[in-house]
Amino acid sequence: MSELFLIAHIAGRGVAIETQQIDSVVDITEVVAVPGAEASVRGLVALRSRVVTVIDTGRALGIESTPDSARRAVITRIDGHHYAILVDSLEDVASFERLPLSAGLALDRGWGAAGTGLVERDGEPMLVIDLARLIPVAALAA
């Protein structure tokens, strides 16, 4: 059974995100910092008169911080709160067959926690990531 996925680039890697998890795709503007919050919370941003929490995806995955220049984000809603997940770039939406993670695949750091499967685009495997697992606290609860 094939599902719709959005192909994005995070920390230089291609990933697939289930379109069901995505509210919208936006370019964010000025981010207001949240002092005291953990590093993966980049800050807050106003979006259509809502306050959205911006997630530094690089930090959330335990790799280097997503650069400040990154403006494109995927909006998702988890437990009643909206989050903007920063991405390097976006490609398009296509239908793929979800495959299980290959046996013996040793995913590093946050990739291991966020990855839930694989899709194959023109022979190139891409990690399917679950946005909910990128959210701090929510990730702890999961």
Partner: protein, 766 residues
């Protein structure tokens, strides 16, 4: 009262609409417990509301239906078709009466006894009631779905952002003054709209509290108890929907407190308490919640009785009972069908209240916490989320960052330029001394590690947290703003220093600081001294509020707010000098008007409508100014200064305090008991036309036939007519003047002699 009635009608109508499905389902399956419960709750709620809206017919019907349904719930009656039909008949009738109240139509009440009789166990089945058609009145209000208001609100914010964006872009170009003017107008309209739209969702909790004094008074009077109510924090604003949802639970809790909690004056005296029970209802904001506290100093919950009842009904096993903690025992009060009361009263005592209360509150994401002290009272705290509540905040800047702090939490703002503030280091902890008061100091910039914040404190906000006060150093205080605060994402709340997030006019998100959270994160330790302070605070709250106004003679005066029903402008031609005094015509009624100086040739005069609950009088003024709190000190008035109780100082000015008591004392009806005077005319109507008004002005009640159950004190007859009544003295009037000895008759126009003779006969001669 009208508002409450409207609300009751709208609510009952809505519940009835929703209930119609349940009723049909219950009819199909009378054993269905959950349907039974919802119908039971409906009649219970109607009964509760009727109690304080004074709707005896509805109260009687709902009470009767509730009795039967309670019997079914307890398993004492079997819901057969006859019973179901009878209950449905009553529910339909409630609907009809509500429609009739709304339409202002009268509804024949002849069949109600039949409906109630049909509820009895041995009643013969009734024929389905014929449907009386009552026209639904056109409603002056529209009930809207809150979702719609939400959408309106978010559309509004979007509009503000668009306006800001437009203004920013236009500023970069050289601007045509006409465009500028148009933009200005747009900004004004948008700002106004925003206020309005915001208000549609927000209401002061006062809307909920304003009905309480009356309700407490009536309930207490009904039960023969004395209760003093103190209300605090009525200006906290809460989402309208939440206020509506809180209404029933609050009413239930307060009625319970008076009925079960507070003892009778006699019992209280024996227990060594003041005869008048104390009920404190307060609202306050704490972090991201609104807390509504209802505290009484009554007997508390008898947990042993509760547990025994639970055992009796086999709700709990002995082992379970043994495992219960004291607070779990107290919580048994929330169990459906459990009550410490054995006798059922019209007020409460079916144990239905508290389970409904909890269900309603949990539905809006709140919780109920009980703190029970056997013999000393019960405190119920309702926590409801702050979501969408508007709070008044102070915006502070630290480094490049802005934060909001709830104004409620900030005692004062002090700058360090003055001499009155000094900062010292005690060990490695900074301490601020503000006018001799030593407070721990928290540097917000350092606590949150904000780049670019000043290393030296510049401005201090004195923050009052639950545990104690401290000084919070910020770089600058920027503004005050009314903000809609929503909970932030868990990752943000996890820091412990924020109470929520908000989107102010700037279009940039802002965080609301949590005063208590900051103290905790900064590691401040406070000693518990709260208990005595709280007591003192409560005592202070009894200060009276009063309306400050300019009187007609140019003097500035105040009058206690409690006696003012409303302030309204009336056309000057509604005021006339009639029958020896000034009177004001309002609709069909005439009320006496008090003035201190001539009204002059104004077209409209503002009047204060005053009431002591029974008598209404009006007081014409020049202009209302504002509501003030009366100071404790009042200089008494010199003798002979009229309706003035004393002089107080407001804003450095001497202001006269109007003596409400004197105003009403002047207006009281002459005699509370009016002797009945039976007029036995000769058929010419002279007595009714000439004599009756004169006698009624002297305090008699004139009748031409003695009403059933009453006796005449004196009878008056024209000579040649009238039969003497046994035991009633009779005075005869004659048509000709001049003395006539022997028959004791009085000339009919000899007013003085007539009044004197009546006074002697009725024992009113002084």
């Amino acid at each position: 009262m009208d508002d409450l009635l409207q609300e009751f009608i709208a609510e009952t109508r809505e519940t009835l609409d929703a209930l119609s499905g349940e009723i049909v389902a219950w009819e199909a399956d009378p054993t269905d417990r959950s349907r039974l419960d919802s119908i039971f709750r409906f009649v219970h709620t109607v009964k509760g509301s009727c109690g304080f809206l004074d709707l005896p017919r509805l109260a009687r019907l709902s009470h009767a239906a509730e009795d039967v349904l309670a019997a079914v719930r307890d398993g004492n009656r079997v819901p057969d078709t006859a019973l179901v039909n009878a209950v449905l008949g009553v529910v339909d009738r409630i609907g009809e009466i509500v429609e009739a109240i709304e339409a202002g139509a009268s509804l024949d009440d002849s069949s109600e006894d039949l409906l109630i009789a049909a509820l009895a166990e041995d009643a013969s089945p009734i024929a389905p009631a014929q449907v009386t058609s009552v026209q639904r009145a056109t409603s002056r209000s529209v009930r809207l779905n809150v979702d719609l208001l939400d959408r309106m609100m978010s559309g509004m914010s979007e509009m503000v952002l668009a306006r800001n964006d437009l203004a920013r872009r236009l500023r970069d170009t050289s601007l045509d003054p006409r465009v500028e003017a148009a933009l200005e107008r747009l900004s004004l309209t948008v700002a106004e709209m925003r206020d309005t739209v915001t208000r549609t969702r927000m209401q002061k909790i006062e809307a909920l509290f304003s009905a309480l004094p009356r309700m407490v008074r009536d309930t207490a009077a009904e039960l023969g108890k004395a209760v003093t109510l103190t209300i605090d924090g009525a200006d906290v604003e809460l989402d309208r929907e939440m206020i509506e949802l809180m209404r029933d639970p609050l009413v239930h809790i307060i009625r319970n407190a008076i009925d079960h909690g507070i003892e009778t004056p006699g019992e209280r005296k024996r227990a060594g308490k003041r005869e008048s029970g104390r009920l404190i209802v307060s609202a306050r904001q704490s972090g991201n919640q609104i807390l509504i506290e209802i505290a009484d100093d009554g007997a508390g919950i008898d947990t042993a009785r509760l547990v025994a009842k639970a055992r009796e009904r086999s709700l709990l096993t002995d082992a379970e009972v043994a495992a219960l903690s004291e607070s779990q025992r107290t919580d048994l009060i929330f169990h459906a069908g459990l009550s410490t009361r054995d006798a059922v009263t019209a007020i409460s005592g079916r144990g239905v209240g508290m389970d409904v209360v909890r269900a309603n509150i949990e539905q809006i994401g709140g919780r109920v916490v009980l703190s029970n002290q056997r013999g000393k009272g019960l405190t119920i705290v309702i926590h409801v989320p702050l979501t969408l509540s508007i709070i008044s905040t102070i915006v502070v800047g630290v480094g490049g960052q802005r934060f909001a702090i709830a104004r409620q939490a900030v005692d004062e703002i002090v700058t360090l330029r003055g001499e009155s503030v000094r900062i010292d280091m005690v060990g490695d902890a900074p301490v601020a001394t503000v006018r001799g008061r030593r407070l721990p100091l928290v540097m917000l910039g350092q606590l949150l590690d904000i780049a670019g914040s000043r290393p030296e404190p510049a401005t201090l906000a004195i923050v009052a947290s639950r545990d104690g006060d401290y000084a919070l150093a910020v770089d600058e205080v920027l503004d005050t703003e009314e903000l809609v605060v929503k909970p932030a994402a868990p990752a943000v709340m996890a820091t412990g220093v924020y109470a929520g997030q908000t989107l102010p006019d700037s279009g940039l998100p802002m965080l609301l600081l949590d005063g208590a959270g900051i103290a905790a994160v900064a590691g401040l330790r406070f000693h518990r001294v709260a208990a005595t302070e709280v007591e003192a605070e409560v005592e202070q709250e009894v200060r009276q509020q009063a309306l400050l106004f300019d009187d007609l003679d140019g003097q500035r005066r105040v009058l206690a707010l409690a006696v003012i029903d409303r302030v309204e402008p009336v056309p000057a031609d509604a005021i006339r000098m009639t029958a020896g005094r000034l009177r004001l015509a309002i609709g069909d009624s005439i009320i006496p008007l008090h003035t201190v100086a001539p009204i002059g040739d104004l077209a409209e005069v503002p009047v204060l409508r005053l009431t002591d609950g029974e008598v209404e009088i009006a007081y014409a003024i020049a202009e209302p100014i504002e509501i003030v709190t009366l100071p404790a000190e009042i200089a008494p008035a010199a003798a002979g200064s009229g309706a003035i109780a004393g002089v107080i100082v407001i804003g450095g000015e001497q202001v006269e305090l109007v003596d409400a008591h004197a105003l009403f004392a002047d207006e009281q009806a002459p005699a509370p008991v009016q002797p009945i005077c039976l007029l036995q005319g000769d058929g010419s109507g002279w007595m009714e036309t000439f004599l009756k008004p004169a006698l009624e002005a002297s305090g008699y009640r004139c009748v031409s036939r003695v009403p059933a159950g009453e006796t005449a004190t004196v009878a008056l007859a024209m000579e040649g007519t009238g039969a003497a009544l046994p035991g009633v003295p009779m005075l005869r009037l004659r048509r000709e003047p001049g003395a006539r000895i022997g028959d004791g008759s009085i000339y009919r126009y000899d007013r003085a002699a007539l009044i004197a003779a009546l006074a002697i006969q009725t024992g009113r001669a002084a």
